[in-house]
């Protein structure tokens, strides 16, 4: 439905930034609907306002007239625009509910999951790795770099280590607050390859303004190559180190000094 309406819309946001997620079109349509309706009334009322100032300017021989606003005709001046604006409100609120449901409420079954950990003032991304399952030894963790596969349905789990942050990916039209103590899950599906900005959109301290990261949307082959380049060695090493540590601790003689 949104794709259809989009054909008749100017695409104001898309002029500035391409759409890289499956639901970006919905946000853009909503943005256009609100901008057009509110903009229409803004300029109409402002134009009428200036017209009245000019029309009823001070002139010699004209006295101001007191109007009580009780006659039917006088009331209509308020009533008609009032109902028209209400109709516009309905035209805004119906797509708003639909978009909210599609983006924030309904989470489609994911192809892959990703953990996003925010802190002052960096993003840590935990990628599921080669097996596609989170919290396994082959997970790939990276700081300020999110790597995703194009045309893949993701569910993210957003956390914060300290204060409130907001995970904002303008090219996805996605913005989600992170709240310490909570895991907030949401979803996205990249539809456009490339490298784009991630930013923090909630004032979180002195370096909030430079708390940026990059998202890399890769084709399936590129993503597989990235997984291969980043997983096996480090994951195996880490796994070995963990095992060694536990073994050496278990073996340690308390009388060893």
């Amino acid at each position: 439905m949104f794709e259809f309406i989009d054909k008749f819309m100017p695409g104001l946001l898309e002029m500035l930034l391409p759409r890289a997620s499956s639901y970006a079109v919905q946000i853009d349509v909503l943005f256009d609907v609100i901008t057009i309706l509110v903009g229409f009334w803004f300029f109409l009322v402002l134009g009428y306002f200036f017209y009245l100032i000019f029309r009823y300017r001070h002139r010699d021989g004209h006295k101001a007239e007191y109007i009580s606003g009780e006659t039917h005709k006088q009331k209509q001046a308020i009533e008609i625009p009032h109902y028209l604006i209400l109709a516009c409100d309905v035209a805004i609120i119906i797509p708003t509910f639909l978009v909210w449901y599609n983006i924030k409420i309904e989470v489609p079954p994911p192809d892959e999951e990703i953990r996003i950990i925010s802190q002052q003032w960096a993003w840590t991304f935990q990628h599921a790795g080669a097996d596609g399952v989170l919290d396994t030894p082959d997970d790939i963790r990276s700081v300020n770099e999110l790597h995703v596969k194009n045309n893949t349905q993701y569910t993210y789990h957003l956390e914060s280590r300290d204060v409130m942050h907001s995970f904002s990916v303008p090219v996805f039209r996605l913005k989600q607050d992170a709240i310490p103590g909570r895991v907030i899950s949401g979803h996205f599906k990249p539809i456009l390859t490339g490298e784009w900005d991630i930013q923090c959109a909630e004032m979180c301290g002195v370096a909030h303004g430079i708390m940026g990261a990059r998202i890399f949307i890769k084709s399936e082959a590129e993503y597989a190559a990235w997984i291969e380049a980043n997983t096996p060695e480090t994951a195996q090493k880490e796994l070995l180190a963990v095992n060694e540590e536990t073994i050496s601790e278990a073996k340690e003689d308390p009388n060893n000094g």
Binding site: I117, Q119, Q120, W121, A122, T124, Q126, R141, S142, V143, R161, G205, V206, A207, I210, M211, A241, E249, E252, N256
Partner: protein, 219 residues
């Protein structure tokens, strides 16, 4: 009505002298200018490290004033290049990572380091308990090679002073070195020297002991 000002000379001798004195004072303060730059740059740091440079535990920020200019500049460079503070588990380091980007040149790093040192270092109260300084002294024998018997460090060996530092910071850094959160970057040569040393501390008790001994060095 004419104002009395119009009768006065456009520039009196007094005002010229005053202007010259001002210009002279600006040039003569050029030497102090570097310090002013450092002070200005350090304002960004005060939120975590405090206006006195003594560090704030809640912000996970260590004391800076006991460190040398060379060490401070080296660490700032490491943070800026991602050699330090870019490990996902380095919570405090990740805070320093973006802040180091605010220092654009090496001159800025030197200026801010000089200002930090000018603040003056003083002993910091212990917060950790359970450390035995006598046992720690034996362990510290290994550390003397780089950090010196007095714990003052040695710039030629890239080892920092351990004095007038928060004990919780020492503990965190020892753990970070041991787990590879710090010093595991292949380019971090000084960190690579400290990593195997931290491995010698087999458990937390040994770390507490050696830290308890380091605390006695400041006296």
């Amino acid at each position: 009505m004419k104002s009395s000002r119009s009768h006065a000379e456009p520039f009196s001798t007094k005002s010229i002298a005053l202007a010259l004195a001002l210009v002279f004072s600006i040039f003569s303060s050029a030497a102090a200018h570097a310090d002013a730059r450092g002070e200005q740059l350090y304002r960004n740091c005060t939120i975590c490290h405090g206006p006195d440079g003594q560090g704030i535990a809640l912000q996970l920020a260590p004391a800076l004033t006991g460190l040398s200019e060379k060490y401070l500049v080296e660490q700032l460079k490491k943070f800026k290049s991602g050699m330090r503070g870019s490990h996902p588990d380095d919570v405090a380091g990740l805070r320093m990572l973006p802040m180091s980007q605010t220092l654009l040149t090496e001159e800025d790093m030197v200026a801010v380091s000089r200002y930090i040192i000018s603040l003056g270092s003083s002993p910091i109260e212990a917060t950790l308990e359970g450390g035995d300084p006598v046992k720690g002294q034996a362990t510290y024998a290994t550390c003397t090679a780089c950090h010196g018997p007095d714990g003052k460090g040695n710039d030629l060996l890239n080892s920092p002073s351990l004095l007038n530092q928060h004990d919780w910071y020492h503990l965190t850094q020892l753990k970070n070195f041991k787990s590879g959160v710090r010093g595991a970057n292949p380019q971090d040569i000084a960190g690579a020297q400290m990593r195997p040393m931290s491995m010698l501390l087999t458990d937390e008790q040994m770390m507490l002991d050696v830290i308890a001994y380091i605390q006695t060095l400041g006296d």
